[in-house]
Symmetry: C2
Subunit: 472 residues, 2 copies
Amino acid sequence: MPAQHHIEALITMLGPKGATTDPTDIAPHIKEWRGKYFGQTSLMVMPDSTVEAAQVVRYCNEHKIALVPQGGNTGVVGGSLPGLNGRDEVLISTKRMNSNIRVDAADYSVTVDAGCTVAAIQDAAKAANRLFPLSLASEGSCTAGGVVSTNAGGVHVVRYGTTRALTIGIEAILPDGEIYDSLSSLRKNNTGYALDQLFIGAEGTLGLVTKVAFRLFPPELERRTYWLAVDSPSDALELLASARTETADRVSVFEILPHAGLELVLTHIPGTINPLSKPYPWYILMEVATSSPDSGLRTKLEEWVASNMENHLIQDGAEAQSETQAKAFWKLRESMSEAQKHGGGSIKHDIAVPVSHVPAFITEATQTLEAAYPGCRVTPFGHLGDGNLHFNVLQPENANKEEFLAHWDSMNRLVHDIVTSHKGSISAEHGIGTMKKEELARLKNPAALTTMRCIKKALDPNNIMNPGVLFL
Amino acid sequence: MPAQHHIEALITMLGPKGATTDPTDIAPHIKEWRGKYFGQTSLMVMPDSTVEAAQVVRYCNEHKIALVPQGGNTGVVGGSLPGLNGRDEVLISTKRMNSNIRVDAADYSVTVDAGCTVAAIQDAAKAANRLFPLSLASEGSCTAGGVVSTNAGGVHVVRYGTTRALTIGIEAILPDGEIYDSLSSLRKNNTGYALDQLFIGAEGTLGLVTKVAFRLFPPELERRTYWLAVDSPSDALELLASARTETADRVSVFEILPHAGLELVLTHIPGTINPLSKPYPWYILMEVATSSPDSGLRTKLEEWVASNMENHLIQDGAEAQSETQAKAFWKLRESMSEAQKHGGGSIKHDIAVPVSHVPAFITEATQTLEAAYPGCRVTPFGHLGDGNLHFNVLQPENANKEEFLAHWDSMNRLVHDIVTSHKGSISAEHGIGTMKKEELARLKNPAALTTMRCIKKALDPNNIMNPGVLFL
């Protein structure tokens, strides 16, 4: 732990509201929410302004005290917990920097403090008749600073992009305590290196994000939700490509689920209903939305469904006839992770390949895994629209759960090798954190890895910003 | 110039097609197309592959020989010319790396060699029923590597973003000659720092871009072009915000022109016609496009125009009734620069402010300039949809052109100060190059500037990649 006089200096600097050593206050901040990672720290600081945050970082840099930034603590890769593996780190939380959400409706932008939750930003945008399209399960807790630092994705990436595409300005504290100010809602700016972009997805290793300007969009005033049955991922891909053109690029959700996954949901999750009368190999949850209602979208979609049933790309399908029915379709998708728990142990992969490679990737990875782990049940699902699958592999029926889960790392390597051969990503959504440092070192383009280290060393020579993540 | 034995070594390495010292071959590559900058070099190298390019860069790094990368040589800020200010630099052209354009229609992506022109990429996309939306005056000559290195914009940014938004993968040669390979059409990837983003807009100072993967979009199969008269930029802004929502975000062009600018066009450019019967203070050229024709867009737009004429945001307007008429509207916009030449000397600014700040910025900058330079004619026009104006200032009628143009730097500083007070950009489209290094040093956030230098030094310690640009 940092020397007692440093702890005292930081408490004096920030006052009683801005720093705590009380284990009860600290407890919820050092535990990963699923209970997979447990950290430790003797001090949590909670600056309430950019200036205070800068003072903290400057002091810590001068005294070589490591800092771990934390937003809503909703990550799953051990990226925002201090003291993992016995490291000596102070937790810096943005929880008190959450009072400003300024929507500029004419500008289609919103400027927020790093500690504001995604849900609060969504609400503020909605109140101004605008859409903040970032939408993910943790939106009630995760923060602007957190989604920027991890480049969060969610279900609307196919249409609106990841957090990177939504972010148009950043203020951050650099590792030396200087304030990097590029906080503006500018749409065009060619004045040197895109440093904003470097902070996005850096997992807090290059500085502490304190304020963010995000892009907003016209509201989704008409939304059509479909549950479609298809024969194969390859047919699904063809439908996605055609839907993008036919709907004037208004596909905002395009998720794929395998039959076996749906079966688990229908069996184990109360209140779920099969929208179709018989089983099919694969299902798609598609949403198309527009800010311009009653402008012929429904007719277009009806024609699109009809013509694709005629050419046998769609085997069967249902359009949600009400908000309630749309929610019922969504429940099938959202229950996938929960339902799989009833199938026993499950080894997970958060991967992406180019969208057009998804069918080949699924075939190749499934064959490889079924050969290597006989009886395992490959159950990939997720964001086909982004080439991003939750590539989950269930244990064989009646196998021993612990024995199966012991294959976690070796199976990950097998899958990641295939991903890499498709020029894919071994972490599409959740980042590297502590969890995937070895795999990153093994698979990342060596020149890219060297460049990353080089930048980290140049900007943070004392290695004080989240030193335990990304790099081995 | 580099020592003769280095020149010979590079010629031996690349063969006669890959290197030249012939002044006639070199001539077109050392002159800026408007004749504003003249460079010099004793050697131009033209590798025809990534491997060859890497060999060149590695050799030059080992021997501390500076390289200036060049694509189509269409830039206007002296960013791609070797030997400016007597510097000793070898020109490295990507002109021979232009054979591969691979469209993946299902993936909505295209992967190209750095030397391919934007027009060639547009054509290849179109042939596959896709849209590559980057569109700018120099598209017949400018290259993939060039538009990435300068983060080119153009007229469709309001809908599709700048080159940054279109770029999804990059291959580049790092300053030490290593090959950075992130060439993939991945939509989601959270595996460390966004190094691709660092190359975009770096003006060749961090490496040589050799291949690029770009995003494609559904084709624009129905396009509606409007010429609208408005009272003020503030009314124009309100119309833009409403058009985005009412058209389901399908506004792909939104350009503003002042009355005085149109007058110059109508007076001096043969074949131009005023689409409206009487003059108004400001005009808008708007285009709305969709990949889903006959889906009610026309009706929606008719209603939108009618209701905005009723509430007096639109004073008068015309919809192009044919492709010919649409071209005539475009000619008015595209002739603005040419027409202004007939008004005498003109001092230019390539600036952007947040979209919602445009009206206040125009008022403030106009008042300041009219006070400082009595009689000057402020004639801003351009991409209101992106907050990016060609903020041109014409000399007073009958003034001496040279005397007026002598105010270039001092007027730039005045305007740039106002831009900066709006958190705007002093180079929205064209980059810094050699031209704006002083202004960048004067106005960029100091922490950002320090960080830029720090990254440059870390990645290019021998300062061999385009050393004359960006930094003083």
